[in-house]
Subunit: 440 residues, 4 copies
């Protein structure tokens, strides 16, 4: 017996570019039997039950694709159809088939701050205001969307651009300081943070698909815990980094010595243009560089991993469009320290790899919320370059350890009886909470 | 406290070519602090104990490198020094430093049958005789080696060439039929089988580093069980196949669809020359093709893995010497079935990857024997392209599942008290057993 | 002033598969301004004139694209539209735009002999008859096509499959023997030879885009000379071999030593299926292996090029479709013989590279005929893997020497006054010649 | 009959690092029959004569290897042996065999200015002085070397580091301004310029193997012409750029459209460390970016080459040592603009490719001088990334056009009677010229 939750669920996407529209189009196509949502563990995954493997959907009560309702914000006015066309990810054939449905999705006006994304600009933005006023405008957007679409629950997933690097400051350290910062339009509060705040205040879990600092500040964790909402981030693990966290655990298992890992990326989509800005690049680079750290044990195996030269390049290269390409060279050695090399050329499609992760994260954070989990969801590390973990813990980067964590949690969901006493937060509750929050 | 067994242990190697001599030289170099035995889990691995990771050697009583004594057989008369030089794996500098010690190791005359390896020939072979007489000559060799070197235990590891494909026949189905076949010099009994038989009859565990059919016939399993000896095989997992069993589980974890996997290898060493013979190639190809089977679930996920085109090429290409090179192209697809490609170019060194596995297998099969395990050692699947499993079971190919099995078993060894009642089989016992066996 | 010949010209294609239909569609698209005929030297090339470079078309009187009329034969009944669709080379968008025009082109029934192409079969074939009767049926086809389409000249270009290797026999050595062989249906006379014979007898130059032995037998050269017709072949130089003849001359110019060149190809189209047959593969392999011969001077520079290991693999790999892929590894050395490597991965599209060559060859052989050239056209070596040369001469393989020959001849055409006395052969003349030929 | 000049000839090398010492060691090894000077056209090249190809040495009177005497300057005091060892290019075996001879070569103290090479420093430098005094000290060094070694002619070849980018200023525009600048220690006069000046003033031709601005300023051309000395530069064409100028002419000959060319380099030697400085990188990048310009005709073929995205990356990556590695991705399209890709992975050895070029340039500039050529030697473009040409001319980058120029000039040398009236400049003449120069 398939146990799926039957109510409508909103998936709200700040930044409806290539990744966002590809996700939406793919869900529409899957619903109509036009294409398979390949890469989604929620859709294709299987779990052990009584010595057999059964489809995940059969034993875990995830929302069905038919109940998802998509919306979002963007700095361009393009409908999801037009945005998908200019993203250049999907074929004309697919876009033509889905045109009407995609055209109906028009982005709400975005909170945008050029200080954080220097190589982009667009017309569909909210008027200048204090950052708290922006947050409240977003809460109104969310409220309106939920009502119009008769959704009684939802999740938000940041699919917008990489912002410039933000250092941790006092304003990030407590919810109180953060809300004062919002009112004062503190310069260290980024749009991603504002969106995260607005979603959590509205009772929606929030996921960060970009490497921006947002959910990983104490203020936001405090808010998530207070609101009893799960959060997950950050930076979807797609092309080159995905490969890295597959291959590196293999080299480590074999106790091979790694001397250097050189990675270069060429990409030509909007992401590439944004990353051409050094501020945004630094944010991305930091995220990409961290992944080898907990896979290779530099402390306990310094002879093998104590001196790895790890370099990551990202180059904006327009001829490639959304078809991101990575080239990796790994210098390693075996027996008696004789050197060998592995070169990996990955001709991937950024959004095609990212879209199923967005779907899984929407379904799984909603599920987590319904099962009463809140705060950072470490078991979702599988999906991220920089998994957000609970205070003081070291992130796991090996894809296989992440996979074990993920399937372990799902197995637990499958065997546990769902908590039927759980009630989704309603608008009135949210407003009351908002009143309390601002009233203090 | 480090608990290593202190007695001398023989490592007997049928086929002292590139892999065998590289293993020997590396152990000598490690003993003298000239080079590190990188790639050996026995030497570099760590286990969890009381919440910390500790070196494996500290908690598992493996034989120390200083107690290993090397010997073997080869169809060429070259000493280990000369064989290593002509193999071209190690540098002049290393070989010069180890020259005296390597020169002291001279191969015993080999059992050789050109029907099984058509592209090789050499002078250092035992005179024509029945296959049972050959087996007995090998037992005498083993006996002499153990006495001369005062070893009270040992292991045998086939490091010789890939033999032609052998179909299962009646002669392989029981020990009784096999021994009759030995006496009749049955054409379906290969040299590898004769070596395996001789070792097991002499009380030594046996490991098969090549893809030859030998330990994986019912007769040999029967013998191993009767003699209470562990066996392990087959076909060391080194270059391209190693990469395959690292990468494929990653694609499967992500539920990406795989459409084709094309692998080509170029290699110029003696292995390459042998594999130029179609009979030997078939044996190798079968071994290499099987590895994707249990990783991609064709039965439960036919939409993703039901139609994979898997091709494997091996080409003899002398300019490359021992520096085997693999090139893989993987065609796969993601969201909505959009295609992507991964290309992997692996510039490896065959013997440099194989040598640490030979060391680990020698140490671990001896350990298994001392802990009372016998028959096929599934927990050593980590080391093989075609892991030998217990009757009716499906081999595990994912490197990460294999790693979990391996470290799980080692963890168990670490926590269990060693069985001190275990006594190694002595020569007199062997002779008695032989008398019984032949007397029946 | 642009001097193009204005009369209609037939381009007749035996084998209307991927290459043929892509050529046709591209010319149609170019005529309607829908796509550029990129890769065609006739269309994009430039020549020096009076110290400036001017477009080739401006100074050489080639037939304009608007005057080309396409037809051909195939063993399948598919129209050019259907054939192009199943070839999978061109996008739906392009095919939709050209649908009507492509659908109007239907193949004539083919001369087919399964002895020569073992992995193909189709329904649209001429009934069993003697090979001479087949040749005459083709001449009738040509005659009919020329009349129906009011073409007063034309060329034939074999774009069909690779046939099995044919050894030279007596029947190939003179036109007389060959014609007797046609009447006797000699087994060493292939379909390609029959098409070549029929075209030349009909007064049309003939080009061989495949590696089949056909124009390169003495009988056919004799016929071409007697009929004063140019011929050109064989085996279009497209992907990997193109790269080889670009790169090898560079290594030779630098006097670098080459030790090995390993090439593998994966391709999934009809070509690949045909080459899966060992007979066809041998024909292709021979053609691909020859190209390094005259580039590296093994005789005069034996220290550098005397011992090259050159291997070529072609593997049928369906996931790739028409998108052929090559991987090359070159082992070479420099100063003091230190080794280096180059690896080339060529993700090409077979038909996209071949189509402009087909166009150029059609235009240039027609031009050659109008300028009075006959027999093998060495100056067209630029287009072929195995250029057909005049008796006793060594083929030039370096792309750059070939380019110099090609542009040199075109320069000569440009500066010479065209021979206005030349008159194309008419049908009546052909019939008379046929009567003479068969009457002897 | 071999016509080689028999007198001793000095080869003076400012910057005796990896390239310089590899060149020296290779010539020594060749003289003693220990290794072949592969890659040298002077040694392995052949010319057409009377319809046959004959070894170049047989028809052109180049200095024989036995008559070369090596010397140079470096900021480190290491002998050529020690410098070669730390460069890590040559094997221990080779270095051991050549040790005595290499140790005898000790560098003279260098002119060094940290403003021009920010990531290097060394002890073996001339004391602070005006730039003219430095030039004079170098002239004294040259004079002393020529006397001590009884050389009556020589050449200088800059093999030192890449300097920071220098803009053209007034001080570079005439010899008069330049010499005034030397006296005033003008900041836009680099060490390379000072070496070039000193060599030319001493009567020695000068070659620039680095991309530094030096010979390509009007003042230096003026000096070369006045002194009747040939000069040649700049930036040896070795790894990735060599490949580029081989491949690009092939794509251009085929009229294929090029959309993008992405090149990345990883290198770990001293060069790499120096290029880590943005100033030096800019110099190198400019040189590397220019090479496609005259190969693809952006002006006459804008549809094909008007919009190429050409990116070049150089990354310092220590694990690779001198074994530089390049990875190129070329996006291009053919018929109807369908896209294809070529990827090239070049595992090269920088100094192994550069050394034969240094030898050729030494022999050929000396030859040019003896044949009466002076100023920039365009026919040597074959060797350079940024060939220095005569005023107002466009450099040729296609390796094949360069090769034609080179062999054309050599053919001319071979057929012409050598000018026997030519007399090398002697020291006394040099001093007189110097007196005139400074006296003006």
């Amino acid at each position: 017996m398939s146990r799926t939750s039957s109510e409508k669920m909103a998936v709200l996407i700040p930044g409806m570019g290539a990744v966002g529209t590809t996700t939406i189009a793919g869900v529409m196509a899957a619903r109509r039997g036009l294409a398979e949502p390949i890469g989604s563990l929620a859709e294709f995954g299987r779990l052990q039950q009584d010595g057999e493997t059964v489809p995940l959907r059969q034993v875990v009560d995830m929302t069905s694709l038919g109940d998802l309702v998509f919306g979002g914000w963007d700095i361009f006015e393009d409908s999801a159809y037009e945005a998908a066309r200019s993203a250049g990810v999907l074929s004309d054939r697919h876009l033509d088939l889905l045109r009407d449905e995609l055209e109906a999705i028009e982005p709400m006006s975005a909170v945008f701050d050029k200080e954080f994304v220097r190589n982009l600009d667009g017309p569909n933005v909210k008027p200048t205001a204090s950052k708290m006023e922006w947050a409240e405008a977003l809460m109104d957007d969310i409220d309106g969307f939920m009502s119009r679409n008769e959704c009684d629950r939802g999740v938000g997933i940041w699919c917008g651009s990489t912002e410039v690097h933000v250092d941790i400051e006092d304003v990030h350290l407590s919810l109180e300081a953060f809300e004062e910062g919002l009112r004062d339009s503190h310069p260290a509060i980024s749009p991603t943070m504002i969106y995260a705040y607005a979603h959590l205040r509205s009772g929606l879990p929030f996921v960060n698909a970009a490497p921006n600092r947002a959910l990983d500040i104490p203020a936001m964790v405090e808010l998530a815990r207070r609101e009893r909402l799960p959060v997950a981030g950050k930076d979807l693990k797609t092309g080159q980094t995905l490969m890295k966290t597959i291959l590196a655990p293999g080299l480590a298992a074999r106790n091979l010595k790694v001397r250097g890992w050189y990675s270069t990326n060429i990409l030509g989509n909007r992401d590439g243009a944004v990353l051409n800005d050094p501020g945004s690049f630094r944010t991305k680079e930091e995220s990409k560089l961290s992944v080898l750290d907990s896979i290779f044990d530099t402390q306990d195996q310094p002879e093998l991993y104590g001196d790895i030269q790890h370099k990551v390049r990202i180059d904006y290269y327009p001829p490639r469009g959304d078809n991101k390409e990575g080239w990796d060279n790994i210098d390693f050695s075996g027996w008696m320290d004789y050197p060998m090399q592995i070169k990996i050329n990955f001709l991937c499609r950024d959004s095609i790899l990212a879209a199923p992760l967005v779907l899984d994260l929407a379904l799984f954070t909603d599920l987590a919320r319904r099962r009463g989990l809140s705060g950072p969801q470490e078991w979702l590390s599988f999906y991220f370059k920089s998994p957000q973990v609970r205070g003081g813990r070291v992130p796991v980067h090996s894809l296989f350890e992440q996979y074990a964590m993920l399937t372990g949690q799902l197995q637990e969901f499958a065997s546990a009886t769902a908590d039927q006493t759980y009630r989704y937060r309603r608008d009135d509750e949210r407003h009351q909470a908002a009143a309390e929050a601002t009233g203090e």
